[in-house]
Symmetry: C2
């Protein structure tokens, strides 16, 4: 098939007829598929069922240091959980706080605390006229939602293959003291699956922000979530790098076991410099008496150590790899060479980022929905849900069974072709859009 | 023994000699006891060990409505957990949100949300010059710590045998729009074990606050924590009462299973009107993806229903009752009729409130500590840790084994006698205080 751009109006119209027929056939299948969220599949969840057996009424729920996990106490996490998670986060256990079940909640709390009580003695953000946050785009919708809830001004920073555009980041943060942070998913990023280059991490560690309370929000959600055994991305460890650069307090690092054990029933964690930890602890001891130590112990008894986590993630990868590869091979087969879409080929994480031609993404997602496949809303990967070029679609291939995923991806490719042809035909008609009635036809 | 007030200087001096000898003997026992926090004892924790067996890898972790508890989803709690906890809270399940492991955290979040985003459309408290909170005293130190962390002005409201002084509460809240809330532990209050009278609850429900965003923070921490089977306090249900009074949005109700199952590994809950719930949910969906549903399911499978909770609480009571009775009988035996202390006799909850003569509490706690018994800091039951009369000591009899508790209470009685005598002697000496060296002697 030749690129659409090289096709004549008649060729496009002819092709459209075939595609409409295919779309009707798809609609006839009465699909109800969900590719919208980064949820593990049922067989991934089954991998962790052994976790339900490691603590029984016959077991001693006592830590190595004698702490009874069943009672109150221990604000920052039991020692063995800190060790396990520190190994996963590639930091010293002394730099780690173990939280509850959600790293998103930890990030929310960090922002809320900055608003009400300030960062390390600086003015609470709630007392400032304006607070701005840098948002690498496309990015994670829930990060942006936190900013929006608190009324921050979000500034888009383009993602490059090496990570956020660091020229722009350096320039902005050095000039504007209202910029208080940046969201980063540094490894297998959401949605592209990009891992930041060594240079990007080093430049992050060497930022000279105008605001003393600027922090890098380093959401390492997919730190151990590789698809391959030997072809893995490696990230320079940011906490150590900041220390080396003389900026030890510059970063907040977040992680969780949500996509390792059970989402919603995992353990979340935070790592930072001693100064930052002290600041955070001054809030934490007011906010709660402590997190769920029994669940911390459950994770330690199940995984035992970082090697246990690595082996466990290998099992996840065996389930996920065929799905990521299926999406890529279908897109390549259906859209390769047409010049109407690009997509990423991540080596880990939970998403594939898909870019259509300008002005097509919303319509593609809408057509998928009409045929029974729910995608993440187009625009969701941008602050305020506004993709300025309307190109980006986040593909979440993990949850559906492989057979469903194949159908859903075929539908995505089909809808992409249809919407693109409609757009090209409209342009040939002098830029007038195809009327809505015409859409309904397909 | 006659009341100390009727003793001559010589009699007091003579008595003091005997008491000093007893104190030295106590010190010789090298005690290391903790009566400072309201923690369940080890045998209470053992009551819930069956909870570790109700979910195994052989079990289906699916809710009645088909929700897989192992995956993401369900922001406000699984249906069956809502039903269980709603029965415990005496409200409709539709009025309930199930949270994580800590009701303190839910209260903190409610305050933090009010600061950053306001209550139901009202000005965020962070934008106000002054925020005040009513604090019934003596009360729960962690409530007061939240107010202090957020920089509120706390106003002491005396506790009467019927609950907070409602004349004062009504007067204050109706006049001052800066007063945004009041802390209540309405049943078996911390530390007195007082349950609010029906009239008190009805007057609460009929408050006419000057501030539209005033809320009653109803921390029903000990709702099912009775010591006796037949002699139980009953509380008018506040949510229904507020609705009847035409003030449906006036109250936030909090609860948790912390002292039912495992503290730190229980489930916390929030109940309120539909308007308040909507307000809270608008934050919650930004703050987290959801709480630990597996733990919710674990609680449901273990307790089954409210009857299961009631039966379980009966077992707790069997362990706690002898402890509360031992404290009371020792205090009665040692201090009864001396006119130097009073204490409460709760029918439930986790604490006994002890009042010494004015200006003695700090010194009593300090002397207990020197003999190896840690009590809650004197003053802790008041905002800013300042008991204006220095009389109140919170006794937490639950954690130590009975034999330890007996020793600790004997020591408390002994220290009370000693400190009171020193105070009386000092007054007889013209009000000069006994010098610190003199203290050291004992």
């Amino acid at each position: 098939m030749k690129p659409y751009a090289e096709m004549t109006k008649e060729e496009l119209k002819e092709l459209r007829k075939h595609l409409v027929a295919q779309y009707r056939e798809m609609q006839g299948k009465d699909l109800r598929l969900d590719m919208s969220r980064g949820k593990p599949s049922l067989d991934q969840l089954d991998l962790s069922m052994g976790m339900m057996d490691v603590l029984s009424s016959e077991d001693d729920l006592t830590c190595e240091d004698g702490t009874d996990c069943r009672n109150y106490g221990v604000l920052d996490g039991i020692k063995e959980a800190k060790e396990l998670i520190a190994d996963m986060m590639e930091v010293n256990p002394d730099n780690v706080i173990i939280y509850g079940n959600s790293s998103l909640n930890v990030m929310y709390d960090a922002i809320a605390r900055s608003y009400t009580n300030g960062v390390m003695g600086n003015t609470p953000w709630g007392k400032l006229d304006k607070v701005k946050f840098l948002c690498p785009v496309p990015g994670y919708d829930r990060h942006f939602a936190i900013c929006e809830y608190f009324g921050m001004e979000m500034i888009n920073v383009p993602m490059l293959p090496t990570g956020p555009d660091m020229d722009m980041v350096e320039d902005l943060v050095s000039k504007d003291p209202a910029i208080k942070g940046i969201w980063c998913v540094p490894k297998y990023s959401n949605p592209q699956g990009i891992s930041y280059s060594d240079e990007t991490v080093r430049r992050f560690a060497r930022l000279k922000p105008a605001a003393p309370d600027f922090r890098i929000y380093w959401d390492n959600a997919y730190g151990v979530h590789h698809l391959y055994d030997h072809d893995q991305d490696h990230l320079v460890e940011i906490l150590a790098e900041c220390k080396r650069a003389g900026n030890p307090d510059l970063v907040y690092k977040f992680s969780s076991t949500s996509k390792i054990s059970f989402p919603g029933s995992g353990i979340a964690s935070f790592a930072a410099s001693p100064n930052n930890l002290e600041d955070v602890m001054s809030q934490l001891r007011i906010q709660t008496i402590g997190h769920d130590k029994v669940n911390q112990l459950r994770h330690v008894r199940f995984f035992k150590n970082i090697h246990g986590i690595v082996e466990h993630m290998r099992k996840h990868a065996e389930i996920l790899r065929p799905k990521f590869e299926a999406v890529d091979s279908i897109l390549e087969k259906e859209l390769g060479g047409l010049g109407i879409a690009t997509w990423t080929k991540p080596k880990g994480g939970y998403f594939i980022s898909f870019d259509s031609m300008e002005g097509c993404a919303k319509e593609i997602v809408a057509r998928c929905k009409k045929a029974g496949v729910v995608m993440t809303n187009a625009g969701a990967t941008y602050p305020y849900g506004k993709d300025p070029h309307d190109t980006n679609i986040r593909i979440a291939p993990t949850y559906p069974p492989l057979s469903d995923l194949i159908l859903a991806t075929e539908l995505l490719a089909l809808c992409t072709k249809l919407v693109t042809i409609d757009k090209l035909l409209a342009e040939m008609n002098g830029g007038t859009h195809v009327p809505e009635e015409h859409h309904e036809e397909v």
